[in-house]
Amino acid sequence: MSEIAAAGVRPVGRSRLGAGAQASRGAPDVRRMLQLGLAGIWLLDALLQYQSFMFSKAFSQMIGGTSAGNPGVVASPINWDATLVAHHAVLLNTIFATIQLLLAIGIAWRRTVRVALAASIAWALGVWWFGEGLGMVLTSSASPVNGAPGAVVIYALLAVLLWPADRAGRPAPFTAARAVGAPVARALWLVLWLSLAYFALLPVNRAPQALNGMITGMESGEPGWLAALDRGAASLVAHQGLAASIVLAIALVIIAAGVYLPPWAAKATLVLAIVVAAVIWVFGEAFGAILAGGATDPNSGLLLILLALTYWPVRATVTGPARTAPALAHTAAAGADEGTTGS
C-alpha cells in the first residue's frame, strides 16, 4: 500500500489540485471527528473555567452546594474540596482550567490522544464527585432536565467509547462499538438513558410545578430572548409536572431501547435522542447558563447530542486481524497516527 493512501490522500487529479491539497490534510474518520468534538467541548470548558466568576468565592460556594443532600461519605470530601478552593481560589482554579486546556489539546493532538483520553476519564470522575456531587444522583433531586447524571460523567463515557482501538473480529455497527464492542456499548447506552427515565419520574420531578420551576429558575442572568424562551416553555408545563414527567420518561425509555433495534429504527430513536437532548439543553439548561456568565461547562445536553452521534449506525467496517485490505487502507487513511490500529 502506498503511503499516499496511508495519508488519506485521494487521487490528486480527482478534481483541482486544490481539492487534492485538501485531501492531503488526512481527513479524519468518524471516530476522529467525534474525538475532536470532545476535544472542542473540553476546550470550551477550559476557557469557561478562566471566567472571573471562577476566581471568586462563588465558585467554592457552588462546589460546596453540591454536597447538600448527599450521604456523608460523599459530602465530606466535597466540603473539604470547597474549603480548599475557597482558600486557594486563584491557584486551584488556574490549575483546573489549565488541566482542561491540556486535555483538550492532548485529545486534538493525534499522538497524545490515548494519554489525554485516559487522563480525561480520571479527571472527569474526580470532578463528578468533588465538583458535581455525583450529579446529585444520590440526593433524590436529580433530573435529566437539569443535568443528571452529571455532565462530566458523560465526558468519561465518551472517552471510553471513543478510545482509539478496535476490537478484532466482528464489524462495529456504530462508532461507539469499535473500542468496547457492541454489547458493552449498547449496555452503557441503556443504563444511561434508563437512569434518565428513572430520574424523570422521581417524586420531586413529577410534582405539578416541578418542571415549571426548574425552567424558570434558569432565567436569571440570561439574555432577554432566552429568558423569554424559558418563560414560554415554563408556561407550557405549568401545573403539568406529572404529565410532562411521564411523557419525558417514555421518550427516554424509547431512546434507551433504540440501539437494540434495526438500523432504520435505531436512527429514528437517535434522532429522537438528539431532539430531546437539544430541548433539554436549550430550555432546561439554557445552554448550560453560559450566556449568564457563570457556567463551568455547557451541561449535559450538548454531551448527550455528541453521545448520540457515536451510536449512529455506520456501514460496518471489519476491524482487527480480520479486516480486508481495502478496509485496512480506509482505516489507515483515516486514523493511522491516532493509533486506531492498535487492537
Binding site: I4, L17, F55, A108, I290
Partner: protein
C-alpha cells in the same frame, strides 16, 4: 476578577504571535516578488494586526491604536477575507465556505470586529461602547449580543481543534507542506504529497509517498493557479531560499492561528 497575570500570559502569547508574523512578513519579502506574493501575505498581516490588537485588549499597557481605528481595520479585513472566501467558493465549491483556507481568517477578522463593536465598558469606568475596549478585560467589560460571542467562540474552538488535529496528522506537515508543490512539473509525473516528506522537498521528487497522476490530472494541476497551492497555510508560493522552512514553515502560521483562535475564544467567553 481574573488575575492580571493570566491576562498578561495571554498577552505575551499574542506578542509572540505578532513577532513571528512580522518576521514572516519580513522574510517573505513580498516587495520583491510582485503582487502575487503580496496578495498572499494578507494572512500574516492579519495575524500581526490581530495579535497586536488582542494584546492591547488584554493588557492596557500594550494599547496601541484607538478602538475606532481597530474597528475600521478589522472591518476591512473582514471584507477582504469575505471576498476571498466567496472567490474560493466560486473556484472550489460550497465546501470552501467552511473548510477553505480563508474561512478561518474570515471568522477571526469577524470576531475581532464584533469584539470592538459590541464591547460595553463597565459602568464604573464611566465610558460606554468601544471607548473602554483597549485594556478592557482588566476592567471586565461585557459584550452586547452574547449569543453571537458564544457562536464565534464555538467556531473558533472548532477551527483550533481542527488545526491541532491536522498539524499532528499523518505526515504532520500534510496540510502544511504544500508550499513547494509549486515545483511540480506539468505533464504525467510522480508527485509526492505526503507522508513524512519535508516541507521543502515534498513536491520536488517522487518519494515514499509518491503516486502516479493521470495526464488529465496533471493538466488540471498545471492549470491551477499557483496561489491555490500555497493558500492552504498562507505560505508564500514564490521562490526563495527560505520558503517553507524556518519561520516561514507552514506550521508556524498554523500555530499562530491556533494560539489566536484560542485566545480570541477566551476573550469572547470571559466578556459574555
Amino acid at each position: 476578577m481574573i488575575p492580571a497575570w493570566i491576562l498578561d500570559i495571554f498577552a505575551a502569547i499574542m506578542l509572540v504571535v505578532a513577532a513571528v508574523s512580522a518576521a514572516r512578513l519580513a522574510m517573505a519579502r513580498p516587495w520583491q516578488h510582485g503582487t502575487r506574493r503580496a496578495a498572499l501575505t494578507d494572512v500574516d498581516g492579519a495575524h500581526l494586526l490581530m495579535a497586536i490588537a488582542m494584546a492591547g485588549t488584554l493588557t492596557a499597557s500594550l494599547q496601541t491604536l484607538p478602538n475606532g481605528a481597530w474597528s475600521v481595520i478589522f472591518a476591512v479585513l473582514t471584507v477582504w477575507f469575505g471576498y476571498r472566501v466567496v472567490r474560493d467558493a466560486q473556484v472550489s465549491g460550497v465546501r470552501a465556505l467552511a473548510g477553505g483556507h480563508c474561512a478561518p481568517h474570515f471568522i477571526h477578522a469577524g470576531a475581532m470586529l464584533y469584539m470592538f463593536m459590541a464591547f460595553t465598558a463597565p459602568a464604573a469606568h464611566g465610558s460606554g461602547g468601544m471607548a473602554g475596549m483597549a485594556g478592557g478585560l482588566s476592567g471586565m467589560g461585557t459584550l452586547q449580543l452574547p449569543l453571537l460571542a458564544f457562536v464565534f467562540a464555538l467556531v473558533l474552538i472548532g477551527y483550533s481543534v481542527w488545526d491541532l488535529d491536522q498539524l499532528s496528522g499523518p505526515g504532520a506537515s500534510g496540510h502544511y507542506s504544500l508550499a513547494t508543490a509549486r515545483t511540480a512539473p506539468t505533464g504525467p509525473v510522480l508527485v509526492a504529497v505526503g507522508v513524512g516528506t519535508s516541507a521543502a522537498g515534498a513536491g520536488a521528487s517522487a518519494g515514499p509517498g509518491a503516486a502516479a497522476l493521470s495526464p488529465a490530472a496533471s493538466a488540471t494541476m498545471a492549470a491551477e493557479p499557483v496561489t491555490e497551492l500555497a493558500d492552504v497555510a498562507g505560505v508564500p508560493p514564490a521562490s526563495g531560499p527560505a520558503d517553507g522552512t524556518g519561520v516561514l514553515a507552514p506550521w508556524v502560521a498554523t500555530g499562530a492561528r491556533i494560539a489566536m483562535g484560542i485566545t480570541m475564544a477566551f476573550m469572547l467567553l470571559i466578556m459574555i
